[in-house]
Structure formats: structure tokens, C-alpha cells
Symmetry: C2
Subunit: 152 residues, 2 copies
């Protein structure tokens, strides 16, 4: 298997407030099956069309955390990228995500603390109409500048 | 495919402070491959043994969010179970999780707000030695009591 490589490896010196990265993603029901296998969450809201038709969302919904794990992809691969340690994440689920629709995960640098080498990002997801479905913040430790210098 | 069914369906009237539920889980490298496919996070810390040997953890580590999604399983299936809406989650990654080890995810009722039908849980994971690797809190909306009565 050929493994995708990170596009970036940014230390805190490479980051500035307002830098952002986004990715689009869709969620198919097959993804929810995989997610259920890994998490143990087989709630029929994700799998049973008859049950879901009676729910407040009127159809099956994706697991909320499926959107949140997209931030893992952006933070670990692109911004800041290689060497990033994820320290904290807060998340609020505002609206459901449905199968087959296109969503957008966006991270943006909110605050930089050079003293303890931590960076705070806003972490948000949007649906096709631009409605925010997820909001929250991440705190990460980018690769230490000294370590990056040694890696290059 | 036979789909596991929730073990509980508790409304706020069925919950009390201190109620808890735990599950054990392990993470194999194959799980990390699936997780990378879904999240886009192919960071070599999870996949490349040579790279990981040079890292601060000295070996490959699981994605931190893999532990967090175990809470999805407990909250959606067991406590409170069927009909639960996950509103918020906070998480702090304290230590890494390694492949093949056994971990324990634990949720416990911290606060109950009957006025707006929300319940706050502590959400924590521990390693085999009892060290806390994940800490945080979840806020959920259990199935409304009226809806549960109609379902029975």
C-alpha cells in the first residue's frame, strides 16, 4: 500500500494568525458501517431507514464524530502537518450530516503561544448550503523548531 | 449483516448522578489503516515503524480520536442509549495509545439538567496500568421522556 505523505511540516515559526486550510468530504453509509465497527456505535439512527424515518431528522444520519476526525487529517497532514501533537479538542454538534452530501472541514489559526509551543485553531464544518454543522477549537503542539531543523 | 441493538433507552428520569458505564477496547494497526482512510490522517507516526522509532513515543501510536469515538459507542448504545443526541464533547489527550494494548473507556453522569433535558458526563480512557490517557466531558440530550413512553 502506498501511504500518502504529509504536505507540510510547519513549526510555530511558520504559522501566523488567520492561516487556514480546508478539505471537502462526503460520508457514505459504508463509512458509517466501518465507523460503527470501530466505535461500537450501531445506533439505528445511522443504519435503520425505517427507524430513522420516524426520527427528528427524518432520515439516517452520519456519526457526528465522523466530521470531527476530518480535523485529524488536516492538522496531522497539512496545517501544521508532520510532527504535530494534538493536545485538546472541543466540539459542538450543531446540525446532522447526511449520507452522500458534500461537507467542508475548515481549520484556522486563532492564537499562537510561542512560550509553550502551542497553537489554537478554530475547527468547523459546513454543509453544502454553508450552514455550520460543527464548531469547536483544537489546541496542538507543532513540531519543535529545533527538531524540524534537525529533520531537514 | 446482523446489527447490534442498543442495550438501553434511558430518558433523563432514568438517570442519576454517578451512574457509569465502561468498555474495554484494543486498537490494532489495521484499525489505524481504516481510521486513516476515513480521516485522511496518514501521519507516519501511526504507520511508519522507522519514523516512529525516532519519535518521542519510540513506537507507532494510534490516532487519539480512536479512543474518543469509543464514547460514541457507550453513549449511543448503553448510557443513555437509544435516542441519545450528542451535543458537545471536550477532550484532552494526556498520553498516547499503542497498538495491541488494552484500554478502558469510562463515562459517568456528572450533572443532570431536567429543564433543558441535557446530561453532562465525564468521558475518560485509561491504559492497562490505570494511567488516564484521555479526559473530557460530553453533553447529551437523552431521548425525551414523552417520546420514550410512545416508543414502548
Amino acid at each position: 500500500m502506498s501511504i500518502p505523505v504529509p504536505s507540510n511540516c510547519m513549526s510555530i515559526d511558520d504559522l501566523s494568525i488567520g492561516m487556514r486550510k480546508e478539505k471537502t468530504y462526503t460520508i457514505e453509509h459504508e463509512d458509517a458501517v466501518q465507523f460503527s465497527k470501530m466505535s461500537g456505535d450501531w445506533n439505528p439512527a445511522h443504519h435503520d431507514e425505517d427507524y430513522a424515518a420516524q426520527s427528528i431528522f427524518k432520515q439516517r444520519v452520519a456519526h457526528g464524530m465522523f466530521s470531527v476526525i476530518q480535523f485529524s487529517g488536516i492538522l496531522g497532514m497539512d496545517l501544521p502537518g508532520l510532527g504535530t501533537l494534538w493536545l485538546k479538542q472541543s466540539v459542538e454538534f450543531l446540525r446532522p450530516a447526511f449520507f452522500g452530501n458534500q461537507y467542508r472541514a475548515v481549520v484556522e489559526v486563532l492564537a499562537i503561544n510561542k512560550e509553550n509551543n502551542t497553537v489554537t485553531f478554530s475547527t468547523e464544518c459546513f454543509d453544502q448550503e454553508g450552514n455550520k454543522i460543527i464548531t469547536g477549537e483544537a489546541v496542538v503542539k507543532p513540531i519543535p523548531a529545533k527538531l524540524k531543523a534537525k529533520t531537514n
